[in-house]
Symmetry: C2
């Protein structure tokens, strides 16, 4: 028996299901008997909440729908495995279930925390001499994983952000009075997503005026002065700001507001509100009309606008993980390696999961301008290939059709 199992973990991306398809299709093509799916990741596995993916993905149409389905098809979790030492019970339980299912290879599609899961399972497997192979498939819209050139999911989010920003810039010019629009983009610690707003600039678009990444300290007074300067010459000012920007004392900008909406169930203060706070400050100081636009969850679930490059690379990352496992590898994660800049060419390459787990990759300092208010051409050159080409939704009765998990 050659059974494999696959799970999805962490926040979804628009192409995380393309990686799932890459695992499923490549495993079937290479002779896997059953491809199991964990429902809600490793947590679902512990609850024995699993499905046979062949009963879900039945034909070519299902495959094409899966590629276009937002959110994680199998559901996700935020469960982090405990350290092996002192918690062997959990690991014994996981391996017992895997043995019952006669699992030969285990695939986990996720970000930093998920790669930590692969690392621990591979380490425990090695310790008990288990033949099961553990492979990680990277995903995250945040693009903050180490080693890999970029992560599947980032290109589509960047394409969505840049396209939407272009539309907002155009919309800001509609009236004959001044408007300051502030677009809030996801990314608590890394500014990759916010930087994608720079792509809007082109022959048919003047681009955004300011870009603020969390890699640099945010100075409210300098920000207001900059906006004041811009308002003198321009009718419409558009600014992209990361939700994660912080002032010098380490507080998030949105924490400067004199009220907190609420603290969520995990004790996190709700971060959304940076754009709103800044818009209020600008309106107060300059008396201009302002708009605060939060791209919110749409950045990660807008499957109606994805990058074909991203979809293909996500699929390939899943497929390459299967190939590597079937060829004997374990404890590895598939990375993307840019082998040519121009023309852009990218291949997959397995890397030891110990080098990728729990490491955060930020926007390099030399790609941000001196005063931290914009990014430079090198960054645009890095992102541009990742948003190329499209994959249209399958429109049914006026709306994009999705594939859903049948219970």
């Amino acid at each position: 028996m050659k059974n494999v199992i696959v799970g999805q973990s962490g926040g979804p991306t628009a192409v995380i299901n393309s990686s799932l398809l890459g695992v499923f299709k490549t495993a079937k093509d290479r002779g896997a008997d059953t491809v199991y799916g964990m429902v809600h990741g490793i947590k679902g596995l512990l609850d024995r909440n699993i499905v046979d993916l062949s009963s879900q993905i039945k034909n070519d149409l299902d495959m094409d729908l899966l590629k276009r389905t937002p959110s994680s098809f199998l559901g996700s979790c935020r469960y982090k495995l405990p350290e092996i030492e002192g918690n062997e019970k959990t690991y014994k339980e996981i391996f017992k279930i895997l043995d019952e299912l006669e699992i030969f290879a285990f695939f986990y599609i996720g970000g930093n925390d998920s790669m930590d899961t692969i690392k621990k399972l591979a380490d425990y497997g090695a310790k008990i001499n288990s033949p099961i192979r553990f492979m990680g498939v990277p995903k995250t819209i945040d693009n903050d994983l180490a080693i890999t050139d970029h992560t599947p999911g980032y290109g589509s989010a960047a394409k969505y952000i840049a396209s939407t920003t272009k539309e907002i810039i155009r919309d800001g010019l509609v009236y004959d009075y001044p408007v300051v629009s502030i677009i809030e983009v996801m990314g608590r610690n890394a500014g990759w997503l916010t930087a994608a707003a720079a792509l809007a600039k082109g022959e048919d678009c003047e681009g955004v005026d300011l870009i603020y990444l969390p890699e640099r300290v945010f100075d409210l007074d300098k920000f207001l002065a900059k906006v004041g300067e811009l308002c003198k010459d321009k009718r419409s000012v558009v600014i992209a700001v990361s939700e994660g920007v912080k002032i010098a004392d380490g507080r998030y900008v949105c924490e400067l507001a004199d009220h907190v909406d609420y603290v969520d169930a995990f004790g996190h203060k709700q971060l959304a509100g940076t754009a709103r706070f800044l818009a209020a400050k600008v309106a107060e100081k300059y008396g201009v009309k302002t708009r605060a636009i939060e791209l919110s969850s749409l950045q990660r679930c807008a499957s109606h606008i994805t990058s074909r490059i991203d979809v293909t690379e996500a699929f390939n990352a899943g497929g390459a993980a299967v190939k590597a496992a079937f060829e004997g590898m374990s404890g590895q994660v598939i990375t993307l390696k840019r082998v040519s800049e121009d023309p852009y060419m990218c291949i997959t390459e397995p890397a030891d999961v110990h080098f990728i787990a729990n490491v955060e990759k930020k926007v390099p300092d030399e790609w941000i301008n001196k005063d931290g208010t914009y990014v430079n051409e090198a960054l645009v050159h890095y992102i541009r290939p990742l948003i190329q080409a499209e994959i249209a939704p399958l429109w049914v009765d006026g709306l994009p059709r999705h594939l859903i998990l049948k219970k």
Copy 2:
């Protein structure tokens, strides 16, 4: 000389430029010498800020780009003409400019206020026996114009809202803990846009759980009780709420928050915040994770996802206005008349502008369920044809390409 002039007014829609193209192309086809464009509407005309549209729209590619360009190509204004009596100076100035330009017909693409402009100009023209013809072309994402079956611009906004809502519903199911997502939709007085969230429901989507329109009084306690009930059975609860919902004493729900972000340059309290306020209340009461998602300006400028039906009808409305003017009509607005339900067929029909200006069409009471928490099948049946078929962006280097006004 057969010169015509066209302007755009009020908030933009994703297809307002298709109506502009309808006016331009049909006027040229019917022998107009010059088609002028007012930059920023009637206010631009008074400032003699006009362009020759042939210098902007030069070929078939430009036309196809114009159809796909968000915001108002010519710019817009919120200028409302004063009453004729006592303000004849303004009218004399306008007609003087129109005579200088040898204008034969005047077209104005807009909503309620813009139809008021057409009404006043036609009335003044009749008074002074001017031969100039004045025609209105309707547009508004709000769908709140009287007489017409629906307004160009509504179908595309509805398609965007329904598609995005589907994606948000899918995204809400990703985790294995409860999440309440509240989507805030535009529409201060009419709930047409919010009602479009009902379209998300289908074979592959369970739909939203609650829909609140401004046509009904909003009761916070009943709302919280409803959400509490839903949270007992469901992992993900998704609610669509209009920004304009009000409680019994007439206050907007967002005004119940104990802080106001700011009052804008026009003295309007910033309305956005209804979803945020409700999300905070839900989180406070039930301790569940909540998400407030504002669709904001994206609803009116997302040209990357438009309804082909809407684009075609917007074009036709512009063209029909020209046809009517060239055949001798004035003081009319083009309306859409649904001549067949199934199959859906819609024609244009001119109507006296006096019957459409300054009247607001709301969602009929019988299309809303008894307790005001959802809409019924009759409303879905009404909207569904308006979101059919697509018009893909022209993608250039990874982003939708637009046509921009050259100064």
